[in-house]
Symmetry: C2
Subunit: 225 residues, 2 copies
């Protein structure tokens, strides 16, 4: 199937939104926890999380100014603090429900049954059920002139995750923390490892360091060097 | 496991990079195709693709100024055009190998065996093997002061994808196009659908519209309303 600029422009609005929201492929799914100055909590599912740098550890989110995320954006600007909590396969229903347009005075925690967890001295709530939880401090904001969206860059000031999900190089295996991937606006996937690759070098061919066996029942195997 | 700001700061550099690059969870994996003014092609794997808006259809990438992606960034600025090509499970080895630091005059197509496909009038190469291919025009660039990275926003001017991967709402199911997800810098996953959710409304409980059966052998089933 082939669509040119005019064909995309002429699509029915909801079908275009469905296509363009899904055309990037698999995305992370995180719950963004915030609170207003009175301590009223807010929780919103987002899929625009992107790595900006490791030192300092910086991540960014994209906010549409006209969306339900506006409560979240207001709270982030107010306190300069927010949390990122990975969605996993046992909380998909509740996580997705946080996208409903609840009034500002309704906490999505109360509405969905997810549990707030507060950490002393940090003014934004974590999701107790999440296995990976990050405390973030707002560092930089850019308004993107082309469509009025906002890029919000924060620094990780506190990270919690299962030690068992960390591999020998120090990386988090999100599958080991039951992590899921989101495609488009409504589709949740459980990823299974296909292969891990050695660091790519021009003078060497690609080399797999871990590989899933052909049988789906077996665990991925570390390969000999 | 719990890391505070000082613990993150004090990590060994490569372990910190491995952790922070993987802490966002699952990411899209795309090959960015470009060419210089002489038509020399370049191809680079990237995982920072993020949705900016649907109308106009805008996507962004994050570029580190000191990385091998610099050839790609130079080419994008030069021609204002680039391609995005989804990595799928049969081209993981070659896609990963494009991350090697080849000299500027070496095309990653030639080095990895991936095939260039050119479209008349468009000055950047597509990856022939990819099932999802997007032609992009540069629209806006932001330098992120906090660490010197660049946010590059482009508009989709041409999209090719398998019609069989489009669902009834018009969204692309990346799993139906054999898409893969990337975690960290080296781990490639094949995602399987867990569930699709109905549009979330405050007055209704979460509702699954498609659900994978308990048996891994069966196909996901559409649920009755």
């Amino acid at each position: 199937m082939l669509l040119d600029r005019a064909a995309i422009e002429n699509m029915e609005k909801r079908r275009r939104a469905a296509l363009i929201n899904s055309i990037t492929g698999f995305k992370p799914a995180v719950l963004v926890g915030t609170a207003d100055a009175q301590g009223h909590s807010n929780l919103a599912i987002m899929s625009s999380l992107v790595h900006i740098g490791s030192h300092p550890p910086l991540l960014a989110l994209i906010f549409r100014p006209d969306s339900v995320d506006r409560h979240t954006l207001d709270n982030i600007r107010g306190s300069g603090r927010y949390t990122l909590n990975h969605v996993h396969r046992h909380i998909i229903d509740a996580a997705h429900q946080t996208a409903a347009r609840y009034p500002r005075d309704v906490s999505e925690f109360a509405a969905t049954g997810l549990k707030e967890r507060w950490q002393q001295g940090f003014p934004a709530p974590f999701v107790a059920e999440a296995q990976v939880r990050l405390a973030m401090e707002l560092r930089e904001e850019h308004e993107l002139e082309i469509n009025g969206t906002h890029l919000i860059i924060g620094e990780i000031v506190h990270a919690q995750f299962p030690e068992s999900a960390i591999n020998e190089l120090g990386a988090l295996d999100p599958a080991a923390a039951e992590g899921i991937a989101l495609a488009g606006l409504d589709s949740y996937y459980a990823p299974a490892l296909v292969q891990r690759m050695a660091y790519a070098k021009p003078e060497e061919p690609p080399r797999r360091i871990v590989e899933a066996p052909p049988s789906a029942d077996s665990k991925p195997q570390r390969l000999k060097n």
